[in-house]
Amino acid sequence: MRDLFRGERVHLTFEEPETHAKSEVRWQLDSEFVRLADSDPLELSSEKKIRDRVEKRFEKGFQPERYSFSVRTLTEDKLIGFFGLYLDLIHSEAWVGIGIGERDFWGKGYGTDMMKICLRYAFSELGVQRVALGLHAYNERALRSYEKAGFRLEGRTRQDMLREGKRTDTLWMGILREEWLQQNGDNP
């Protein structure tokens, strides 16, 4: 069986509150990054607030509906991003939240590698029937990356984002278990 936590460029690690907070407090200052990732108006949190937030989550112990990871490069073990899988346990559907906070690592295949690991974890370890995500229509890089990973566009909620005085759509994508198995047949 393959190593679930290792890809070609990155590997997964535990989301350690203090380490994660040190990076996130910097990443949040990159408004382009945050605006590509989120829908809420941007706010700046202290490193303490971020650390406390992550710690609080772990206080509750294992939660079967949430799996979050820190992502590090294989070469230097540098923390570059994260992803989280949020499960609807009843319907066996996982929502993905994924991001590379370190700008230097954009457009170099790291995101694609991360998504590959993420989907493999979702389908072959968590056994879900479906993985879904949303992205802003103006996030073209992500759209291409997700299409390459096998996601299909399922629609767009019209003009639900207002930024810089302009209204844009949110795109919604999904990949079914059968589709992922077909694409990863011999290589699950």
Partner: protein, 201 residues
């Protein structure tokens, strides 16, 4: 349209801690009932202590826990309790615990009917792939009832119980979704009748 909470003899209704804390003292005074009862550990408590706990657990509405009271269709009488605990999301498996506290309803098919309704709920609403239960070897009535509902014997924990000066086994029984689907039409309770639905709003 038949719904998923209704069987042939009984229906599942809300587990009301207030109502249950009044019924439990009667049921649990019956030592035979207590010794036969096969429910997960949570209900093995004094009623007063159970009330607060019941309110919390039932109120939490966790996707892993479901509580029901059992009422007769004939006269809406409260006759027992039922619980479902998903302990394994990966395998989509849950423990079921069933107790019919009103003894005059034993041996008349009520247990099997409850189980049938519960299995429909487990396989078509919570989407489980398995349901598991444990039952004591000295409870042949329940064993027969579960067999009739489709459960198969999967194993025994030997000499786990110590009662009346001798040892007894605890039996594990289970039913798979495929097995249940072979015997039951998943849509027979909730066939959404398009014509019916379209005139409703």
């Amino acid at each position: 349209m038949k719904d998923i909470f209704t069987g042939k003899l009984v229906r599942l209704s809300a587990f009301d801690p207030d109502e249950m804390s009044k019924a439990f003292p009667r049921w649990y005074l019956n030592s035979e009932y207590v010794r036969l009862l096969n429910s997960s550990a949570r209900v093995m408590q004094s009623p007063k202590a159970a009330l607060k706990w019941m309110e919390e657990e039932v109120g939490e509405m966790s996707p892993a826990s479901y509580f029901f009271s059992i009422r007769t269709l004939a006269d809406d009488k409260l006759i027992g309790e039922l619980g479902l605990d998903v302990f394994n999301w990966s395998g989509r498996d849950a423990f079921v615990g069933l107790g019919i506290g009103e003894t005059e309803y034993w041996g008349k098919g009520y247990g099997t009917d409850v189980m049938n309704v519960l299995l429909r709920f487990a396989f078509t609403e919570i989407n489980l792939r398995r349901v598991t239960l444990t039952v004591f070897e000295y409870n042949p009535r329940a064993i027969r009832s579960y067999e009739k509902a489709g459960f198969r014997h999967e194993g025994r924990v030997r000499q786990m119980l110590n009662r009346e000066g001798r040892r007894w086994d605890e039996l594990f029984m289970g039913i798979l979704r495929e097995e249940w689907l072979e015997l039951n039409d998943p849509t027979s309770a909730g066939e959404w009748n398009r014509k019916e639905m379209d005139k409703n709003l």
